[in-house]
């Protein structure tokens, strides 16, 4: 079923790409307003990792050397035309000719190299903080060989460097030599920055010198409305043409509400270092205790589907057919497992906190309450602790001090890259910052996968995933389905990347 969805999404995206051919593009002077749920906090190309920043600038103002194709999830050229791995540690990228920045300067290898170096925030950029720096976990050296040839040298073998570079957005050379944050972004994308009024709006306009197909929409204004009902209402009244993060209860049942899956999974992470979760049987019992088939459709409606794995269907660690053998709802089995663990001396009566946050997903509060109720029904002492984002993150990250109570951390995790290396090392290895499990077997498989490529990489990640699920280290609850509302006469086909990147160039308006 999930595969079928991906195929249909891919087909729709392919149609969209075909429809975007130059011959069919007719420009329009109609402006559009996009209403977002969260205000962007940075216009710097090195801060495009959070969705609130990416939604505005990625694919619109900034572009990267490579990108993940919405059609098949593979790495495809964007500002780079091609690349080759000349040795274990060295890659050469041939860059597209004739690309201009919005200020009229040429895009070249020097600009690309400067962006890669600044994103890593070396000592030459004192005081600079870049949210994209985590995308290059091991230092790389980038240098221009000639005008359009870029050489990137890694410190260890990295078969997915081209994929990693899809997260490095490219700004103009002048901005990339300074440690100050970029306030007036200049990129190569189809839209150039016009203005930002903090707390109110960001305005973009069509870049006439764009190297690709000219977009149809001319002017775009981004505004923020925190209330989902208000965002949906703005579409109804015509005040906005695209509204993101719509809740199921505000959705219309016509083509104005479009859905997409972006590999975002709602998962539970038991703290395996502390009771009552030290015994894997108790962790398995967690999965058996939760009646996903009832609570997920009842509470999330069209915005969620029951799910058992940690990563989405298009990530290479996804195990096809796993649902058939997953620990499904069986409260009696859950009670048996807990009783067996108790008989072996485990303190299964230890109270624990289900740590969540109000904005974890639409209607997430109700879902967590239902999960807590399911867990209490099998005899576990679950309490809910709903905290704001920063406090939630403190519970998420290592170290876990002794005085911290045992936790069952609710996580909404997405992986749009398609590669488990963007999730597993951080979440399930012994040294992973967000990991609450330590299994030498999993660490070994992941370490081996990181230096492998192709089918072998996929196989190793799947083995790691299987071990993880057997250990009960991460428990999938629901696959999230996201909603976008469109105004009358506005056409946009979302794709698995739409959670991060809404390319206004892909928006079509009726005459």
């Amino acid at each position: 079923m999930k595969r079928r969805f991906w195929m249909s999404t891919a087909a729709a995206s392919a149609l969209l790409v075909l429809n975007s051919a130059p011959a069919s593009a007719e420009t329009s002077d109609k402006p559009i307003t996009v209403v977002l749920a969260i205000e962007l906090d940075s216009l710097d190309p090195c801060d495009t990792q959070p969705a609130q920043n990416a939604n505005v600038v990625r694919g619109n103002v900034f572009e990267s050397l490579t990108h993940v194709s919405p059609v098949d999830g593979k790495v495809a050229p964007l500002l780079a035309e091609s690349w080759t791995q000349t040795s274990d540690l060295v890659w050469e990228f041939k860059l597209k000719n004739g690309v201009k920045f919005h200020d009229g300067t040429d895009f070249n290898a020097a600009a690309a190299a400067a962006n890669i170096m600044r994103t890593q925030v070396g000592p030459e950029f004192p005081g600079l903080a870049c949210l994209n720096s985590g995308q290059l976990p091991d230092p790389v050296k980038a240098e221009a060989v000639d005008g359009l040839t870029l050489r990137v040298t890694t410190t260890k073998v990295d078969p997915i460097l081209p994929l990693r570079l899809s997260y490095v957005d490219i700004g103009d050379l002048a901005s990339q030599t300074k440690p100050e944050k970029v306030l007036n972004p200049i990129g190569t994308g189809p839209y150039k920055f016009v203005s930002r009024t903090q707390g109110e709006s960001v305005k973009l306009t069509r870049f006439d010198g764009y190297w690709g197909t000219a977009p149809q929409v001319k002017d775009v204004t981004y505004i923020v409305r925190k209330e989902a009902t208000v965002r949906a209402s703005m579409i109804e009244t015509g005040e906005a043409q695209i509204a993101l993060s719509i809740q199921a209860q505000d959705a219309t049942d016509d083509e104005r509400t479009v859905t997409f899956k972006d590999n975002r999974i709602f998962i539970m992470r038991p703290m395996t270092f502390k009771e009552p979760f030290k015994d894997p049987r108790v962790r398995q019992a967690l999965s058996h205790a939760i009646d996903r088939d009832t609570i997920v459709p009842a509470i999330l409606g069209i915005t969620g589907a029951p799910y058992y794995q940690m990563l989405g269907p298009q990530v290479n660690a996804y195990i096809p057919g796993y649902d058939d053998k997953a620990p499904k709802y069986d409260p009696e089995k859950a009670k048996e497992l807990i009783a067996a663990a108790k008989a072996d001396g485990h303190a299964v009566d230890t109270p624990f906190e289900i740590v969540t946050r109000p904005d974890i997903l639409p209607d997430g509060g109700e879902l967590v309450q239902a999960i807590a109720q399911n867990l209490r029904e099998v005899g576990l002492k679950a309490n809910i602790k709903s905290v704001e984002n920063t406090a939630w993150r403190e519970f998420l990250r290592q170290p876990f001090p002794d005085e911290q109570p045992p936790t069952l951390q609710m996580i909404s995790h997405d992986n749009t890259s398609g590669d488990a290396s963007f999730s597993f090392p951080k979440y399930i290895t012994c040294k992973g910052l967000n990991s609450a499990i330590c299994s030498p077997a999993i660490d070994k498989l992941i370490a081996e996968a990181e230096t492998s490529s192709g089918d072998k990489r996929t196989e190793l990640y799947r083995k790691a995933a299987e071990t993880l699920y057997k250990e009960g280290g991460m428990i999938g609850i629901a696959e999230q389905i996201r909603l976008i509302m469109l105004g009358e006469g506005v056409h946009y086909t979302p794709n698995p990347l739409s959670g991060l990147e809404i390319r206004i160039a892909d928006v079509r308006l009726d005459d």
Partner: protein
């Protein structure tokens, strides 16, 4: 009068010093901005450089000393989040809050005077019961709910008003209504109570005996003497309107100091949080002073000594 104002200003400054101390330490209890500005697993050297740039590398008491020295000069530092002077950010948002609160307060007072007086004059009759019911309903109605229902009725169904924003005069109607709805209910009850006391006093009976009409007695003789408790409660409500402004900023994206404070807390932007709280504190201190002065004008028996 001048002695009174001077004395109140000095006590206001002491209060303000307390506010500065509390906001400095409380803001640091929210945690470090590092978690928000750096990705997971950032290099310690990067974090050290960031802390150095914003003076967060020193012990908290040392930071407080530097902070106090700068505050005396009106310098609250640069916003980590907005990258502009923190005081500039606070002062740019405050006028909208003041205008919104002034309009909402004026409407609330006028409506409450009319409804409260009517209820007092027609005590225990149908008008009184209807006004009492309405005032209790509006004073207990959650602002948030009222705002969303207002949008659904007036923007989505009737299309009379925009859903949100602040671009036209129409976009002020729902935010003003949201901020004033609670105060209307509370003040109506206060006016009713004060007017009932006053209308039953001897000099009002005397005025009636001399042949003065109902409206003249109510608005010229009774209201003036009932004004003191109304002004005091209205002052308290006005000071609390920052809370209403927060709801309005979240639902209607209406600019103002409430939105700035919420954003500063969520982004751990200490300089903006400190500057905003101080600006609000100064406003409230000045408002209280103004209320004392108005009370002395309304009732000259009150001596400002």
């Amino acid at each position: 009068m001048l002695t009174f104002i001077g004395r109140r200003l000095i006590s206001g400054l002491i209060t303000l010093l307390g506010v500065v101390v509390v906001v400095f330490f409380l803001s640091r209890l929210t945690g470090s901005p590092i978690d928000l500005f750096f990705p997971e697993g950032a290099e310690p050297a990067q974090i050290e450089a960031f802390n150095r740039a914003y003076g967060l590398d020193k012990p908290v008491l040392h930071q407080f000393g530097i902070f106090l020295g700068n505050v005396v000069q009106g310098d609250f530092g640069t916003s980590i989040w907005q990258q502009r002077p923190a005081m500039q950010a606070a002062l740019s948002e405050m006028p909208m809050t003041l205008v919104l609160a002034s309009i909402a307060m004026t409407i609330a007072v006028l409506v409450a005077l009319v409804l409260g007086s009517l209820a007092a004059v027609y005590r225990f009759r149908t008008v009184d019961r209807v006004v009492t019911l309405l005032s209790l309903a509006t004073s207990s109605m959650p602002h948030f709910w009222f705002a969303l229902v207002g949008i659904l009725i007036f923007a989505v169904q009737l299309r009379f008003l925009p859903t949100s924003g602040s671009n036209s005069w129409q976009s002020w109607i729902l935010p003003v209504a949201t901020v004033s709805i609670g105060p209307i209910g509370v003040l109506t009850q206060v006016v009713r109570g004060a007017m009932i006391d006053t209308l039953s006093s001897g000099y009002i009976r005397n005025a009636r005996a001399r042949g003065f009409t109902g409206a003249r007695i109510v608005y010229r003789h009774a209201l003036r003497n009932a004004a003191l408790p109304i002004i005091s409660v209205a002052g308290d409500i006005a000071a609390g309107m920052v809370n209403g402004a927060v709801i309005v900023s979240v639902v209607f994206a209406f600019p103002g100091i409430g939105r700035l404070i919420v954003g500063a807390i969520l982004n751990r932007d200490y300089p903006v949080l400190e500057a905003s709280v101080v600006v609000v504190g100064v406003s409230i201190i000045l408002l209280n002073l103004l209320i004392d002065i108005v009370c002395s004008i309304v009732d000259p028996r009150i001596r400002l000594t």
